[in-house]
Symmetry: C4
Subunit: 232 residues, 4 copies
Amino acid sequence: MGNQPPGSPAVGRREDDKQAVRSEHAHDPSRVLALSDGVFAIIMTLLVLEVHVPELSQGQSLTDALRQIWPSLTAFVISFILAGMCWVGHRDLFGLIRQTDRGLVWLNILYLLPLCLLPFAASLLGRYDREPVALRVYGLVLVAIALMRVAIWVYATSRSHLLWRRLDDRQRGAGLGLTIAPVLVYLVAFAVAGLTPTLSLLIFAAVPLVYFLGITGLRLGRMGNREYSDFT
Amino acid sequence: MGNQPPGSPAVGRREDDKQAVRSEHAHDPSRVLALSDGVFAIIMTLLVLEVHVPELSQGQSLTDALRQIWPSLTAFVISFILAGMCWVGHRDLFGLIRQTDRGLVWLNILYLLPLCLLPFAASLLGRYDREPVALRVYGLVLVAIALMRVAIWVYATSRSHLLWRRLDDRQRGAGLGLTIAPVLVYLVAFAVAGLTPTLSLLIFAAVPLVYFLGITGLRLGRMGNREYSDFT
Amino acid sequence: MGNQPPGSPAVGRREDDKQAVRSEHAHDPSRVLALSDGVFAIIMTLLVLEVHVPELSQGQSLTDALRQIWPSLTAFVISFILAGMCWVGHRDLFGLIRQTDRGLVWLNILYLLPLCLLPFAASLLGRYDREPVALRVYGLVLVAIALMRVAIWVYATSRSHLLWRRLDDRQRGAGLGLTIAPVLVYLVAFAVAGLTPTLSLLIFAAVPLVYFLGITGLRLGRMGNREYSDFT
Amino acid sequence: MGNQPPGSPAVGRREDDKQAVRSEHAHDPSRVLALSDGVFAIIMTLLVLEVHVPELSQGQSLTDALRQIWPSLTAFVISFILAGMCWVGHRDLFGLIRQTDRGLVWLNILYLLPLCLLPFAASLLGRYDREPVALRVYGLVLVAIALMRVAIWVYATSRSHLLWRRLDDRQRGAGLGLTIAPVLVYLVAFAVAGLTPTLSLLIFAAVPLVYFLGITGLRLGRMGNREYSDFT
């Protein structure tokens, strides 16, 4: 894949081809994506599964019982959309990547780690939705996911042999801004959790809206610039 | 993929090819399908997993205890077949699609959201199978899934660059009819849940039959019309 | 794919190619395999997950508590190997299949249905390992899985356009024998569960051994006959 | 794939090609990898899911309750990294493999068996983190996973028709050393669990560090030797 090993000129052309095929297998992102999609699918399913079928207490109607799980349902719908945003972001980022190396593989595993904590944080938020601590845990998990995405962006885009196409400095900067923005938003939601839990909750709920408006604005503003219009 | 960016004439043919490859990666539906198949696999497995191993109470035989989980087992078998129908429908629909864009990716995520609520609704129905509220929740989840499928159908088939092959108006109309039909059926089951819970239950159980008969009739009636005979 | 639609001679060669590509997409087994592999992966993981971390009762050591989950662990290891056998059989069978049709897709979904009941049956057996009812439920689930595999074999091998290569009658007969054998074994285990639970348990535990010896014998006896040596 | 069946000279070239395609399907590792990636994704997700949302007891603040789940969280983060290492090792190993046979398929299933016990062992360790028995169970599961990896390495590398490229004796020996090393480390952690539980815990926590340093050292020492630099 471009950087063939220097040695062994005695080994003929055919051996080189075989090596190239094998090397392509070793650096192929397909299993990294398979693992990630698997984790995302499970996370998204489990998020909503945390909404439990209520046990009816004495003299309680099922309608009342279902009303009680409403905050829990809301927390999980928001988390589902946020997880969907993470997946779309992951897909966009890896859409740029032609091959992986050891660093990228491990950064991706460390990205999946906080992601796997999302159902726990969502469950905590669903049960204790006005508790500052629950909001802080939720915020921290989202910050960690967003930070790992920044790390993958910086790592991958500074190694052009990993990419389908070299990005120029302006493109890298714009992408960095797009990946850092959620880190800042979640940090604000984390910071205000102690003072005004409701504001913190509102920020989490508003992120999908901000995201949709933001990316649409960016697309309109840079019409014809294919790198951005490709972003889903 | 047909619509190359207009700019940068200095960039040569080779760069164009690379861009085309990268663009194909960015719009490739494979990860959308991987995520969806993962979610479907988990949903279908978890549906039946909700059938719990009974704890024997004083003097109760295991046979009696197993008889008690019968309604729960029935609810989950019906839900499994309905989930299977959703998957087959999803596979048919995405069989038409050559590439995805941002809207389609997000419509698919919003399709997976109510789908993830199916195990919850099935569990509710298994425990409270004569309660109108449980039947209504179950119906609503199915309506939401079916509606999102209509949305994907309308969105994708009106953007012919997303398809392997342009559909004519008659084909789009017939497909729309096929995707709207389940919405109406589930709405009826939802509407009658309050008056006659048994009828509502019967409708849910009958949907797979209606589906098999309906699509078979359609196939017989349009023999040789490949678009429909392709539908599984 | 061979059976092009008769009509529309006005549509040129290029349209035919596109249609072939699209048709190939509609009949491609890849999503059927993705769904099945996802279900198998979840089943196998959940089987062993049913082994619960013990809660220590008053004055009980952890060593004693772990000894109590031994039957449960045994039941799940056997079930894991049986699920592995099902997966290997599914892989062998679909290794023959070049394209799917509506019948095959649905037979596969109906194959996955009893498979999803395996963790339930294994959990029942792990908790009530001497109860004839638990053994019967376990046996029935295995019979249902094995029967659906027979159905897929008969359906697929009698439709040569679905296969990579037509099988002759002798090959189809031998394959039928191989797929029917487990049905009979599990039926025996089911039948004797009431009289001698221990024998029933032993049969389930012995099936993997019988399978390994049986298929090895068959491979030795038919050396050079590629259809069988291909079977894993 | 090279070793065409000897018989039937009447069957022409085209039939041979079809057979080659079919044979390639039968030996294609893709479904083995799909199953494995699915299992890894579920294991990694479930590991962290075992961290339960605390129920507040009388007069307890949520902050205190979260402090109680700290050991559990630590155990699961360590297990997640260890599972990530297993996955990276599995990916490296199967990156060498061009086609599978019956033995390899079954060795892989027997590799997945102890892997599926990892969430159980991690849950045990999270609840009883100073109990020698919990540490021994955790160690045994890791030893079993590492041993199965050795078995796959020995089996696959001694059958060069399964590989993309034949390995020489030096390469096989070095790879064997790399796969045996974790077995020994986990055995030590298992052995000292009775005397000094803390040391045992420390070893498990230190393995990721040892791994990162070890493989980096190996890469620096063998710069330019592509077989090793390919390892992630």
